[in-house]
């Protein structure tokens, strides 16, 4: 019995490992991937990156314009994230196993999130461009839909993690459904949720490189312009500005997390 338990456990681990290796092998065959080549390319890649991607004094002239665009981007990113978070909260509460009303609505909510997460940004670009043209709204909506899909999923995880036993206690007092949510689930998971919201805001600023192409606005558009005209010096300046912005948001986010968690 005892041997069988440990043997079985080891066997199971081995089978899982084997399946993972098999899938990996299959993927390597399908894509003709070479790990050695990949590893070997890393130093060379960094060499190329460092020698090509640096801002020059000439490119610094574009800084005011870039900062201007950064501002637009931050507005769109945060706006889309915030609105998405509000919707995502509602859907996550419907979707989470701890708080769901019934399994049908829960499945619907999860399905909706999956749908929105998996419509490619290129698809959004096309559909939205048809109707909204190259406006800030196109960017807003493209970011909104993707953020919504992602945040719903993230919030569901947070709720499941954070609020098991206290939900039970509030239910035992006879508190109505929504009250239980607002008095127990939300206070318990708010810090984690906020942390994800900040993360998505940050991601969205980075996604601005994609969005810029769609909207013709924002820092992503600047990157696209410089990148496509092979002005890597100016493009690197954009990247540096994005990196700094994201680090700043990350810093704020970490500060907030540290204080509230």
């Amino acid at each position: 019995m005892q041997d069988k338990f440990f043997l079985k456990k080891r066997l199971k681990s081995s089978i899982i490992l084997f399946v993972v290796l098999l899938v990996t092998y299959g993927a390597i065959i399908m894509t003709e991937f070479s790990l050695i080549k990949g590893l070997a390319s890393i130093p060379k890649a960094f060499e190329w990156g460092v020698t090509n991607f640096f801002p020059t004094t000439k490119s610094l002239e574009r800084l005011p314009n870039i900062l201007n665009k950064l501002f637009e981007t931050i507005l769109v990113s945060i706006g889309a994230t915030t609105v998405a978070a509000i919707f995502a909260l509602a859907f996550a509460i419907m979707g989470s196993a701890t708080t769901r009303v019934n399994s049908f609505l829960s499945g619907m909510a999860r399905g909706f999130a999956t749908l929105f997460r998996n419509i490619d940004i290129a698809v959004w670009s096309m559909i939205l461009l048809f109707t909204f043209g190259q406006s800030a709204l196109t960017g807003f909506f493209a970011l909104f839909f993707v953020s919504f899909g992602f945040l719903t999923r993230a919030f569901i995880e947070v709720i499941d993690e954070a609020s098991g036993s206290s939900v039970e206690a509030l239910q035992a007092t006879g508190a109505p459904y929504l009250t239980t949510i607002f008095q127990s689930v939300i206070p318990a998971s708010l810090p984690m949720m906020l942390s994800w919201v900040l993360f998505v805001a940050e991601t969205n600023i980075r996604s601005a490189t994609l969005i810029g192409i769609l909207t013709g606005t924002g820092i992503g558009f600047a990157f696209d312009l410089y990148y496509k005209s092979m002005n890597y010096n100016a493009a690197s300046l954009v990247v540096i500005v994005i990196v700094l912005t994201i680090l700043l948001i990350e810093y704020i986010s970490n500060y907030v997390r540290r204080v509230i968690l």
Binding site: W48, G133, Q134, I213, G216, F221, L225, Y227, K228, S229, M230
Partner: protein
């Protein structure tokens, strides 16, 4: 000449850097394609061209397709690809990055010589608005300032660089715009040259922008939209010419049958070359490839130069004596000077 040299190989396509006569790839020759030519529907067309290379060198060919112009340019410049078919601006960039990248051939014009190995950058406006782009009795770009503009993409020769330069050339004569540079055209705004600037990301896309009224003026090239339009009025390929979208136009222009637009500016652009990274292939082999490309056999290959009534979806069309012709780097100087 000698095929025995093929055995004195270097490994793969990437590491060969010496220019010695003996260096040539033992493995397959890599061709990188621009996004425009990367679609799966053009796979047969790519194979047809790859076959020319195989026939000339006896080496297998690997096609690399990408959706990113920069990646294509950097790939040929860094020697990760041996051959490329790329736009003239892309070639100039690649050559600037690595002077070992040199042109081999371009598809000729109808004459079968390099003289008309050209196509044209057009600025089109909707026919109903055309009158407002007249300066006196002639069409002109005089009135385009402050309008909504659509380009193809910033790296497109006929979709941005060439028309952009002619706009800058025209307006920088004027006192108000004397400091205008091409970069100022990239973005719209109340204090910019254009009120709005859109990008079609393809020539067809730029034309769509015009037809959907997302822009007042659109830049695109004649040969790029040739399949979709028919001539209606005025002298072909001259300012004032009117074209109509064909009723049987393919996507993405199938939604606009019968719509008409007027050309207000025409600027010639050099054809796109096949280029080689001479670090990767030796002179012998390059010569063999060029000979292969410029042969009559290729000129008459209906998969390469596609006859008008053919079903085959190819890269070049055959109307008269089109063929590949040899070009030198200097041929691109006029375009290079624009930048």
């Amino acid at each position: 000449t000698s095929t025995s040299k093929e055995s004195s190989a270097s490994s793969g396509t990437t590491e060969t850097k010496s220019k010695t006569e003996t260096s040539k790839p033992a493995g397959p020759i890599t061709i990188v394609w621009y996004p425009n030519e990367s679609g799966s529907d053009l796979a047969d067309a790519r194979d047809a061209l790859g076959e020319i290379v195989t026939n000339a060198t006896g080496l297998e060919v690997v096609h690399r397709t990408t959706t990113d112009y920069n990646i294509a340019i950097e790939t040929i410049a860094s020697g990760n690809a041996d051959l490329a078919f790329m736009g003239p601006i892309g070639y100039i960039e690649a050559n600037k990055k690595n002077s070992a990248v040199l042109p081999m051939v371009v598809p000729s014009g109808q004459s079968g010589t390099v003289d008309d190995a050209l196509y044209h950058a057009w600025l089109g406006v909707k026919k109903e608005n055309a009158e407002s782009y007249k300066n006196g009795s002639d069409f002109s770009i005089e009135n385009i300032q402050g309008k909504k503009m659509s380009f193809v993409s910033t790296s497109s020769a006929s979709g941005f660089v060439v028309p952009g330069n002619s706009i800058v050339g025209y307006f920088s004569q004027k006192e108000q715009w004397k400091d205008l540079i091409a970069e100022d055209l990239l973005e719209g705004g109340s204090n910019m040259f254009f009120s709005e600037v859109a990008y079609g990301n393809s020539h067809q896309g730029s034309l769509v922008n015009l037809l959907m009224n997302r822009s007042d003026i659109a830049a695109f090239c004649d040969s790029c939209v040739n399949n979709y339009i028919e001539h209606v009025d005025g002298e072909e390929n001259r300012p004032g010419a009117v074209y109509r979208i064909r009723d049987d136009a393919d996507e993405p222009l199938n939604g606009f049958p019968g719509e008409e637009f007027t050309i207000i500016s025409v600027t010639p652009v050099l054809n796109a070359p096949f280029v080689v990274n001479t670090n990767n292939l030796n002179a012998d082999m390059i010569e063999k490839i060029i000979v292969g490309f410029t042969s009559d056999e290729v000129a008459n290959n209906p998969s390469v130069f596609v006859p008008k009534d053919s079903e085959f979806k190819g890269l070049f069309s055959k109307r008269a004596d089109e063929r590949f012709v040899r070009v030198e780097d200097a041929w691109f100087n006029p375009l290079r000077d624009l930048q």
